[in-house]
């Protein structure tokens, strides 16, 4: 049994008369100790999927129309409030993009980490344990940091404090929603290094949400690429990066400038990311797809398993695949 299994999750916002289907029939599983990356652009539904795992989306406005989210075999969508409290932190912890917005500005960081300990491991709610956690996430001289307020720390250190809070409850799954987007590139490298190290030491699984394919190459075992509320491709990370099959994944990889390339022009994807209120008919990527066929606008393609563990939502994957330079 995988640690987390999402089956056919469908999620809507908006009014029933004017629904915005943010997530449409998404299935994904995460095994013990695995790092899975969910890649996509803004509005593709990756963050709401992540928030759904611990049911952090307020309902309303969100409406779950179907599907299951099985955390260790139990469906999160059917849980009572008490059960949910046990899941939050107990099985799933989160870190978010903007650490300064996630930390409470009026409490000292030691107290904020201790709060997480009090809830989940009351016996360990001591200064010594907080110092151990701060040391674990690589904060130098943790004893002197205990009584700092968040504003006294830099962005990178704040994110380390967030990670310390998240792992304090010893979760089995860490959901990191764009954890390095707000950070500088040298600090981003440090945080990615820390996540990799923590995963090996603590043996937890990580679900990493990102728009940066470079991060996928650095950290992920498996990748799911999302576009307009649907998963369009799932594969092992190195297989996907070496040979992307879906035209969207291919285009995404080619549109990012790479260090050391001589390309005079970037291959931009025309048009814009569609809004959830107006997804195109048929394949949702077809208006922007350079390899679209006549019937792409008519029937919605299904995810097909082309190799064991390798899924792609494009019936023409075999004809359209170009190996990237």
């Amino acid at each position: 049994m995988p640690l987390l299994e999402i089956n056919n999750l469908t999620l809507e916002f908006g009014t029933p008369a004017n629904p915005l289907r943010a997530v449409d029939g998404l299935s994904l599983s995460i095994a013990d100790g695995e790092t899975v990356c969910l890649v996509g652009e803004s509005g593709c539904g990756k963050s709401v999927t992540a928030l759904s795992i611990a049911r952090l989306l307020p309902t309303p406005p969100a409406r779950y129309l179907g599907g299951q989210i099985l955390a260790e075999g139990r469906d999160v969508l059917q849980m009572t409030k008490t059960e949910l409290r046990a899941i939050r932190g107990g099985i799933v912890s989160y870190i978010f993009q903007e650490p300064s917005a996630s930390l409470n500005p009026v409490f000292r960081i030691g107290a904020q980490i201790k709060e997480s300990l009090k809830l989940h491991r009351p016996d360990a709610a001591t200064d010594a344990e907080v110092i151990r956690l701060l040391k674990l996430v690589g904060i130098p001289a943790p004893e002197s940091r205990l009584h700092d307020y968040p504003h006294q720390l830099s962005g990178g250190t704040q994110q380390r404090v967030m990670i310390a809070m998240a792992v304090a409850s010893e979760p089995k799954l860490l959901v990191a929603d764009e954890p390095t987007t707000a950070l500088d590139v040298t600090i981003q490298a440090q945080i990615l290094d820390l996540l990799r190290d923590l995963q090996q030491r603590l043996g937890m699984s990580i679900l990493l949400i990102t728009h940066n394919l470079g991060i996928v190459g650095e950290l992920a075992n498996r990748v799911a690429v999302m576009y307009a509320g649907q998963i369009v491709e799932v594969a092992k990370a190195d297989a996907l990066l070496r040979r992307p099959l879906h035209p969207y994944t291919q285009a995404l990889m080619k549109s990012v400038p790479k260090l050391g390339s001589n390309a005079e022009r970037l291959l931009a994807i025309p048009g814009q990311v569609p809004s959830p209120s107006a997804f195109p008919s048929g394949c949702r990527f077809h208006p922007r797809c350079s390899q679209a066929q006549k019937d792409c606008s008519l029937k919605s393609p299904d995810l097909i398993e082309v190799d064991p563990g390798r899924w792609v939502r494009c019936p023409y994957w075999n004809e359209t695949t170009i190996v990237p330079q």
């Binding site: 652009e41 803004s42 830099s154 990178g156 250190t157 500088d184 590139v185 040298t186 600090i187 981003q188 490298a189 440090q190 990615l192 290094d193 728009h211 940066n212 394919l213 470079g214 991060i215 996928v216 190459g217 650095e218 990370a237 190195d238 990066l241 070496r242 285009a251 995404l252 990889m253 549109s255 990012v256 400038p257 790479k258 260090l259 050391g260 390339s261 390309a263 005079e264 022009r265 970037l266 291959l267 931009a268 994807i269 025309p270 814009q272 990311v273 922007r288």
Partner: protein
């Protein structure tokens, strides 16, 4: 009524002009800027911007943040200079100080040989036609209560570039076409556009006064990945067709390498390395540049780079370290780095590095 038909007519003219431009030789084969003589457009000499942070009882500044601390460079017509560095390194302050959005503390900025750094506001105003800025946040930099035509028309009015309202409308239409927007959208408001389209509006506004220099402050970092490439390509096309020089500020080295002719790497208000874009990115000499490049996540698993993980964080510019500002994080630190500030020295033609240790 008459105005309406005039605008439609003018739009027709614009599209025809656009078609003609499209018929120009393909990029690379015969670039129009090859015929232009490269001249120095912008010359910056020892520019410093110090912000007072603490004051005495009587209001005199006691402490300063040295946001930009002695930067010199030159920019040719039609050239792109990429300015890269982490947050707080002073790259945005430098960009703003050059176009006098922030007053500079010391140094000179000459544009086409004329010193604009001490010019009075009244004399500076006509000069502002020569330089414009594109901002990072396409949501924050457009007035939500103005239509696109008002936004793009405002600089045209300020500099009195249009003879009459029909001419103004014609210019706005042409600018919209230039940046790849439909001129029929001129009466819409910013909220009706996506992030990428808003950035195009910001670019059209900058182009409205036919500038020679555009300071682009992180113009693509707020955009979606698939839209970034569109804007980068657009900026490159416009540079060619309008003979623009860019001071391109960004933190993403791959974007900087792609768009720039030359690169300047800043750390704590100083330039630590400058040179030809390909040279700096492929054989960086300053340990900070080397670390920046190795920190960029690599997409392709086949080209894994050796990791050079920098310890710590950039120090506060309020209290910069003595000697080389980078020495507390530097893997190659030597005793003299702690006391002597390294000046920029030339390692190879056009490739300068501020480091005691770096070897050619």
């Amino acid at each position: 009524m008459r105005q309406d038909s005039a605008s439609r007519l003018s739009c027709l003219c614009c599209t025809q002009m656009l078609d003609r431009r499209d018929a120009c030789p393909a990029p690379g084969s015969q670039r129009p800027d090859q015929f232009q003589v490269k001249t120095t457009l912008l010359q910056v000499q020892d520019l410093k911007v110090h912000f007072p942070v603490r004051r005495t009882l009587f209001g005199r500044a006691k402490e300063f943040v040295r946001a930009v601390d002695g930067v010199s460079f030159a920019l040719q017509t039609g050239e792109t200079l990429g300015l890269v560095g982490e947050s707080g390194c002073g790259k945005t302050t430098l960009g703003r100080a050059i176009i006098r959005l922030i007053e500079l503390t010391e140094g000179t900025v000459s544009l086409e040989g004329e010193d604009i750094s001490r010019m009075s506001d009244a004399r500076l105003r006509p000069q502002r036609r020569k330089f414009q800025m594109i901002f990072q946040d396409p949501y924050g930099s457009l007035d939500p209560r103005m239509t696109v035509e008002q936004i793009i028309g405002e600089p045209i009015d300020i500099h009195q570039l249009a003879k009459n309202s029909a001419d103004r409308r014609k210019r706005v239409c042409q600018l919209l076409n230039d940046v790849g927007l439909d001129s029929a959208h001129a009466q819409r408001y910013p909220h009706e556009f996506s992030g990428g389209q808003r950035q195009r509006i910001g670019i059209a506004r900058a182009l409205a006064v036919e500038p020679k220099l555009i300071v682009c402050d992180e113009p693509v970092s707020a955009l979606d990945v698939s839209v970034q490439a569109q804007i980068i390509n657009l900026l490159k096309d416009l540079q060619r067709s309008h003979a623009l020089a860019y001071l391109f500020i960004a933190h993403d080295l791959a974007v900087i390498e792609h768009i720039s002719d030359r690169i300047m790497v800043m750390y704590l208000g100083r330039v630590v390395e400058t040179g030809d874009a390909k040279t700096v990115c492929r054989s960086p000499k300053h340990p900070y540049t080397q670390a920046l490049i190795s920190a960029v996540p690599v997409v392709d698993p086949a080209t894994k780079r050796a990791r050079l993980l920098l310890p710590g964080e950039p120090p506060s510019p309020l209290n910069p370290p003595a000697g080389c500002p980078f020495h507390p994080r530097c893997p190659l630190v030597e005793p003299r780095c702690r006391t002597e500030t390294p000046p920029l020295r030339e390692l190879a033609s056009g490739h300068q590095v501020a480091c005691h240790v770096a070897q050619p």
